[in-house]
Every structure is written in structure tokens, then in C-alpha cells.
Point group: C2
Chain length 223, copies 2
């Protein structure tokens, strides 16, 4: 099997975007195969590539990896984004999971019925301002990084989550100066700066085409 | 801080039960504080113990740990239930996440409106028979354990998930002989055998009292 890293997903953020972020920060080059039809998806299932009939799928190091968190943990472990020792690791996991909770709430928004969207947005904003952001502000009060003295996957996830939040609520960080400073430090990291430039493999916010494609590819689930 | 391991949760399965399982298999003694009122929950929040205003909370090794998967990863890492090396670990994560997917679908059932319960049950059964169980049957076809040659958290999660499935669908494993044999091997492990006996800290399936208690304790979310 080749040494290439290949990502199989929709041409959009979804569950794959955090994987793209970690790979970019780790400086790992990757190729992407975009799924656009249910036939493509079923072929992957029939080939035995999708253990639980779900994407993301990442081909890497001779393995066909599925389950988002398993893939994220593997990349973090391999590329030194997972701290030192068990006690740092569990704190990284805690902060990483908190950031993923935010991103998962945002991720399902485009699939929320229009009449429920505003109440869902309000719920996210309230939850994040009341619980998540104060926790991260405190964690960053005396520290460059969320855990220990080096960059971890938790920092990358938090950074990604704050950018997603600002797309929805432009002023949401205005009362969180430590998180703003953290954002600026993160933007200055060369691999991150590069990934933020136009033309990178970073994906734009989901639009109607993305939603339609996901529903087409997974049409067996949306019957 | 004391060396005791203390679990803060409802007196029921929910997200804590897999943590109880891993601790039991690791031979770690633990105490439990059962939350029964919203005031108790708010006190934990006000004391700063619940970083994201969520339980489970586990006091362990001088830390106040939150986020279920972070806690599970920590216990697995500390007690040798996480394989050897990154490649075994990612496979353990994949199988563990697949089992957690099953358990999470079952976990929300008691909170599903009665008129939707049967369709949800049908959906779980179909999904599990069609996708998850064949994958585990194959993984166990030539092997004692899901990954490598030793017990991992993935085995413990799968075992727990199959017991939960059998409570809902007694005959569901009838066409999966390898998983049945796996269950029997797991039941013979002394720590597991002990946890399965009456009087252990294992919790029964959720009943109306459990559902009511959860909704009382989290009444600020169910408004």
C-alpha cells in the first residue's frame, strides 16, 4: 500500500475538517477523494473499507481508519500533539472533547429544519458563552497553551471551534481577551497560517450544495 | 487530596456505566456519590468541579476529571487496557467507538417519547445486525481479543454493549457465534465475573425512577 494519506469524505467540513486541521498542523500532506453519489459510498462499504458503514475514512500508514475520534487520536499521538504522560493526556482529552462538543453542535445546524434553526443557534450561543468559553478563558489565563508547555490537539480543536463560532456570532469572543490572544498566537504558527490562506485544503462553511450532496450520498439513511 | 476514586453521577447507568466497567475490570475500588437534586448539581458547578457543567465527574489521582471519553482513555491508559503502540491503539479506539455508538443509541431510549420508542428500537436493531455485529464477528473470527493478544478497553466496551443489546433483543446474538464465544470468555474473567454478580456496583437497566431523577437533577436543561 502506498505511503500517501488519502481522505474519503464529502467536499466539505463535517466530521473530516478537524482531521484536515490536525494533518495540516502536523505538516502531513494528504489527498482527498470526494464522495458525490450513493454508489460510491456503497462501493466503499462493499469493499470492506467502512467498518461501521460510516465516513470519515482515512488511508494512512497501511491502514484504513474509521471513527473520527480514533483517527484524531492517532494523528495526535503520532505527531506529538498529545502532551507528555497520562496526566497531560487526560487534560488534553478533556479540553479537546469540550471543543468537539461545540463543533458537533454547529456541524448539525445545516441539517436542522429551517423553523428550528434560530432556537438552535440561540441554544448554542447561550451554552458556549455560559459554559465553554469561560472554561477556556480560565485555562488560558496564565498559559500559552491549554495544557503544559507545548501545542496539543486540544489547542488546534479550540482554535478551529472559535473560528466556527465567530462565523455564526462575530462578536462572541469580545468578552474573552485570553481566547482572542490565543487565536492570534495560533494564527502566527506557520502551518496554521498556511492552512488559513485561500487555496488551502481548508473547507468553507457548509452551503446548500454540501447539504444536498451529503443527503444524496447517504440517501439510504434519509429514506 | 485523598487517593480514593469517587464517581459523581446519577444512581444509574448512563454515561458513567462504562467507566464503572473499566474500573471494575482494572480492579480499582471506587465510591459513588449519587446526585438526586438540582441543588447538588449546581453546587458542583459553583465549586468549579464541572468544567463544562456536565457529569460524569470522577475524582482520581488528585484530579477532577470530566468528559466521559477522556476519563475512559485515562483509565485504559493507566491500567494497561490500551494495547501496545499507536497502531494497536488506533484499532482499539475504532472498535471502542463502534461499541460506544451502540451504547449511546440505547442510553437515550428511556428519554425518547413513548410514541417514538418502537421505531427507535427497530432502527437500533437493524443498524446493529446489519453493520456493527458483523464487524465484531469478523474481528473475533481468529482471535481471542478484538486487538492484539491482550484484553483492551474495546473488549470491555463490546462486552458491555452486547449485554445491553441482549436486554432489548434477547436473540440478537443467535447468528453471531464468535461474539457468543467472546461473551463466554469475558464472563470467565474473575474481575468481570465478580462485577456481574448481584450486589456489585453494576447498575440495572434504567427505570422510571432513574429517568425522573435525571430530569430533576438537570431541570435547568429540561425547562
Amino acid at each position: 500500500m502506498s505511503d500517501k494519506v488519502v481522505l474519503y469524505y464529502f467536499n466539505g467540513r463535517g466530521k473530516m475538517e478537524s482531521i484536515r486541521w490536525l494533518l495540516a498542523v502536523a505538516g502531513v500532506q494528504f489527498e482527498e477523494v470526494y464522495l458525490t453519489t450513493n454508489e460510491q459510498f456503497q462501493k466503499l462499504v462493499n469493499d470492506g473499507a467502512l467498518m461501521f458503514h460510516q465516513v470519515p475514512l482515512v488511508e494512512m500508514d497501511g491502514m484504513k481508519l474509521v471513527q473520527t475520534k480514533a483517527i484524531l487520536n492517532y494523528i495526535a499521538g503520532k505527531y506529538n500533539l498529545y502532551g507528555n504522560g497520562l496526566k497531560e493526556r487526560v487534560m488534553i482529552d478533556i479540553y479537546a472533547e469540550g471543543a468537539r462538543d461545540i463543533m458537533e453542535m454547529i456541524m448539525v445546524l445545516p441539517f436542522t429544519p429551517p423553523e428550528k434553526k434560530q432556537s438552535q443557534l440561540d441554544k448554542i450561543q447561550l451554552k458556549v458563552k455560559d459554559r465553554s468559553l469561560p472554561t477556556y478563558e480560565k485555562a488560558l489565563s496564565n498559559s500559552q497553551f491549554l495544557v503544559g508547555n507545548q501545542l496539543s490537539c486540544a489547542d488546534v480543536h479550540l482554535f478551529e471551534a472559535t473560528l466556527m463560532l465567530e462565523e455564526l456570532f462575530p462578536a462572541i469572543l469580545s468578552t474573552f481577551p485570553k481566547i482572542q490572544a490565543f487565536q492570534n498566537r495560533m494564527k502566527a504558527i506557520p502551518a496554521i497560517n498556511k492552512f488559513l490562506q485561500p487555496g488551502s485544503q481548508r473547507k468553507p462553511p457548509p452551503d446548500e450544495v454540501y447539504v444536498k450532496t451529503v443527503m444524496d450520498v447517504l440517501s439510504h439513511l434519509f429514506k
